[in-house]
């Protein structure tokens, strides 16, 4: 198979786009796509101060690499979750992320949750019922809280995550199977800023996971390939496997699933929930000062109070 643009040997065939490209043209094409989505969904512009949540994985590093090359004002935030589990998962991820930033002269901030809050993710998981039953949910909650807190305190205009199309399609599938209307109403790739909440965006929302990995590979980005030991049995990975089986038989299925959902959101599907998602009544957590919908301590602070 040959590159459609120059005829050289292709390194990737994207069946959903009926497009095969060589390494150089693929890198160029992916960056163009990302810019297209940034503009289409009005994510941010060159004057915005951008915080990229980096984990040491292919998606966040590929995203940061593209944005830095395009001249956006980006800083990175790495959250050290203290996950070791015999494979030094967090320390390896931290090392990879630090080395990435150093090589490119990018500014990286690091928050170590054990240093800041006294416990690592495995320790929280062991102590709390929520952590024992849904470790990924605890991790997600902690990361969202820290990211928002950091962005608010340091005046970032927007927080970016490396969520790719496969992530979004898997979340969409899970929320659809559960008919989680509130989450379905909030699945847009951009969440506007609200009092106490920074704007959030996902520039890779229409980039396949395989494209993101291929970009990292051909760009020589070293990333952590191993899975988080807590996520091995996660629902999201199961849904991704199912979606990939469907994708093999029907190229473009994941993309259509997600795009038709975005069209449905634009057309006003779940209108009552969309309105309530926009205007969630916010109280301030008396401990950390971040908004909470419940009054009293926010979910994050309650996590550290639980026996």
């Amino acid at each position: 198979m040959h590159c459609r643009k120059c005829g050289k040997k292709a390194v990737i065939n994207m069946r959903q786009h009926r497009l095969s490209l060589c390494a150089a043209h693929f890198q160029e094409w992916l960056a163009t796509q990302v810019v297209r989505y940034i503009k289409k969904y009005k994510m941010f512009n060159h004057t915005d101060k951008i915080l990229v949540a980096v984990s040491g994985g292919k998606d966040s590093l590929a995203l940061w690499n593209i944005l830095a090359q395009l001249g956006y004002q980006t800083d990175g935030l790495y959250i050290d979750l203290g996950i070791d589990e015999g494979i030094a998962y967090s320390s390896r991820s931290r090392e990879v992320t630090e080395s990435f930033a150093l090589q490119r002269g990018l500014r990286l901030y690091i928050t170590d949750i054990k240093e800041s809050y006294g416990e690592s993710i495995p320790q929280i998981n062991e102590r709390t019922h929520r952590g024992r039953s849904k470790p990924c949910s605890v991790c997600g909650l902690v990361k969202r809280h820290i990211l928002n807190d950091f962005a608010q305190k340091n005046n970032y205009d927007v927080v970016l995550t490396g969520h790719n199309l496969d992530d979004e399609a898997a979340i969409l599938l899970a929320n659809t199977l559960d008919w989680s209307l509130e989450f379905l109403a909030r699945g847009y790739p951009v969440l506007p800023a609200k009092p106490g909440f920074s704007k959030k965006a996902k520039p890779f929302c229409r980039i396949y996971e395989r494209e993101s990995a291929a970009y990292a590979f051909v760009s020589g980005i070293a990333y952590v390939e191993s899975e988080c030991p807590f996520s091995l049995d996660s629902k999201q990975l199961k849904y991704k496997r199912i979606l990939n089986q469907w994708e093999d038989d029907r190229p473009g299925m994941k993309l259509r699933f997600y795009l038709h959902y975005l069209n449905a959101l634009d057309a006003g599907a779940f209108p009552w929930k969309q309105d309530s998602a926009k205007t969630l009544s916010q109280h301030l957590c008396p401990q950390c000062g971040q908004p909470t919908s419940t009054g009293g301590l926010c979910t994050f602070c309650r996590l550290f109070k639980q026996p």
Binding site: S20, K58, D167, E209, E227, S231, Q236, D248
Partner: protein, 82 residues
């Protein structure tokens, strides 16, 4: 009994002389038939073509490339999350 045993041996030999390539996933080697596209070799072992990058001699290749006898093909999983 003899005929049956002979037949078994014949089938085994026929299987062994087919040219083979190796798929390598996380340092584990899996034999598959050569002279077919990579994606067919992957499918035969239950691997989704949407879930891996394919690397031959350090270079990324497309999954329609034909497996040659003796090829060592590395499969890099791309799926992550939690």
């Amino acid at each position: 009994m003899v005929a049956c045993a002979e037949r078994k041996v014949t089938i085994k030999l026929a299987h062994m002389v087919k040219p083979q390539a190796t798929l390598i996933l996380k340092k584990k080697s899996i034999l598959c038939y050569a002279n077919t596209p990579v994606w067919k070799g992957m499918k035969a072992h239950g691997f989704s073509r949407s879930a891996f990058l394919i690397v031959r001699d350090g270079d990324l290749i497309t999954d329609d490339e034909i497996l040659k006898a003796g090829d060592q093909i590395e499969l890099i999983p791309v799926v992550s999350g939690g």
